[in-house]
Symmetry: C2
Subunit: 313 residues, 2 copies
């Protein structure tokens, strides 16, 4: 059996190797993905995001347990965009998930920004597809929601949950504004801390303002994740959103948008590889750079010339 057959037959090792191939951009990755693709489209994908320190992994942990209790199999991809240099994601708090790793119905994988060519969101999307083809019922994609690229990662989900906590600084206001529009469900974690009511009130105000143009008014659930409080209620809200998007054709629309973004990103990343092979590795880039640095040429003119040379027009 090849790796694809093994994965489809339930081999965790084959799944793990596939994600490693995706992460490291091994040549075999795209032929594996080509064969896995027809087996995708069944899993429900839940994006989980929020500012640093919001307790997203504890929340993910508890949600995974709750879904396991109702018999669903769970895949977790924890995207760590904060470790661009360490060669992979080694979040300390992954360790807290140990209780889950003993459960065969759960597969957990961290992904960092190992390798510089491909985009992390493209790799995350492929890892989601691998878990989907593997047969997981629900796939969590968890990431720190601050930058644009991280927002792109959760945009790949069917339903997006935004986790906030009371009592953070000024920048949090800005973050809140930025991720307000992507949240389908909001969780206020550490709801036993001061300021939870104030945060809920503020959020409600902002969401009400926004709700006039929308059919779905994102609900807010208070949670104390490390004590499991509010988790079952949260699962209910997530399921409610899932039913809503399925019944209203929104899920089909979102998946169409997702497929579009993914196709374009894959195309751009492939062309990027072609450029690297033809311009960078041949040493031509260095010649151009030399002229640019001496101000004998400029990047805009160089790119214009290269476009003429590389592309059929």
């Amino acid at each position: 059996m090849d790796i694809v057959e093994k994965l489809l037959n339930g081999s965790r090792l084959a799944l793990s190797r596939t994600i490693t191939a995706i992460e490291n951009e091994y040549d075999e990755a795209s032929s594996i993905m080509r064969k896995l693709y027809p087996h995708t489209g069944h899993a429900f994908v839940l994006g989980i995001t929020g500012p640093p320190g919001a307790g997203k992994s504890t929340m993910t942990n508890q949600l995974a347990k709750a879904y396991r209790n109702i018999g669903k199999t769970v895949g977790i991809i924890a995207v760590d965009p904060t470790s661009p240099f360490s060669g992979g994601a080694i979040l300390g708090d992954r360790i807290r998930m140990n209780s889950l790793t003993l459960d065969e119905g759960v597969f957990i994988r961290s992904m960092g920004t190992r390798g510089s060519l491909g985009g992390l969101s493209h790799k995350t999307a492929d890892a989601v597809k691998a878990l989907d083809a593997f047969g997981k019922d629900i796939i969590f994609v968890e990431t720190v929601g601050v930058g644009q690229s991280e927002v792109d990662i959760v945009k790949a989900a069917d339903t997006t949950m935004v986790v906030l906590i009371p009592g953070m600084g000024d920048d949090i206001q800005a973050i809140k504004a930025g991720i307000l529009e992507i949240g389908d469900v909001f969780a206020i974690n550490k709801a036993d801390h001061d300021g939870a009511d104030k945060l809920q009130m503020e959020l409600n105000m902002m969401l009400d303002l926004d709700a006039e143009q929308k059919d779905w008014r994102p609900p807010i659930q208070k949670v104390v994740a490390n004590q499991g409080e509010g988790i079952n209620e949260l699962v209910e809200l997530i399921d409610k959103h899932y039913s809503y998007i399925k019944e209203n054709g929104i899920m089909i629309k979102r998946r169409h948008e997702r497929a579009k973004t993914e196709l374009l990103e894959l195309l751009r990343s492939s062309i990027g590889g072609y450029i690297t092979k033809n311009i960078v590795k041949t040493g031509r880039l260095d010649n151009y750079l030399n002229d640019i640095e001496l101000r004998k040429n400029d990047p805009y003119t160089v790119v214009h010339e290269l476009m003429d040379e590389l592309l059929k027009k």
Copy 2:
């Protein structure tokens, strides 16, 4: 006079319009940049990054005043990757900078992720060049340092300052690990708060471990930015690093790397535009997507075909 001449003659309006053209990807942007390019390469670029809530804008504000006091002209680009949907960067704390905007020697501009095609780091780099050609002595590029793309933004600097504060959550550990390697100078802001000594000790340990392979051991400065404490000392450390990289050929090396990254990114973004024009706007993408969604085709095969069609081989 055209916009380029006006900018080179010191028109703030022309500068402002140029950055707007860059931000919105107007067609004229690349012809403006082509003409500005020969006038660049003189400014010192300082990257300022750190987690949300670290007080980066207050710090930037104080540093700008300190540099103004020694007669330097200052440009500030505040990159706000947290507002992908609001159509531009409107950080509330920009308002705090008002005292600076009255000073003709300072030019402040916020940039968000308006428009979806081009990368924010590419636009930031062009805005830096515009300020450089305009004649600013020192240019600050300030951004929230959490995601990969934000790290890319500050990597475009000659010297990078990382701002941290005591007493943040678990995720901060991960962030610290991620941005440790890009910091040339570290500032511990809110140093009058509990935990500042502990943070300094931890940072010192990590930097000592790292220092064995490096000539420059990044110094740490405690600061209370909103009271101006430690700012002059910080300026001294920044200047010390600037002298160090100039004298050791490191600046030339860094700028070479920067020029390389920028050239490749410009090329990719131009090719992205070409794809949009030829594949997206012609409706062909939708046909492909239809087949992909019905699982009659897969994205990997489609991309393979498109590469053959688009590229000269």
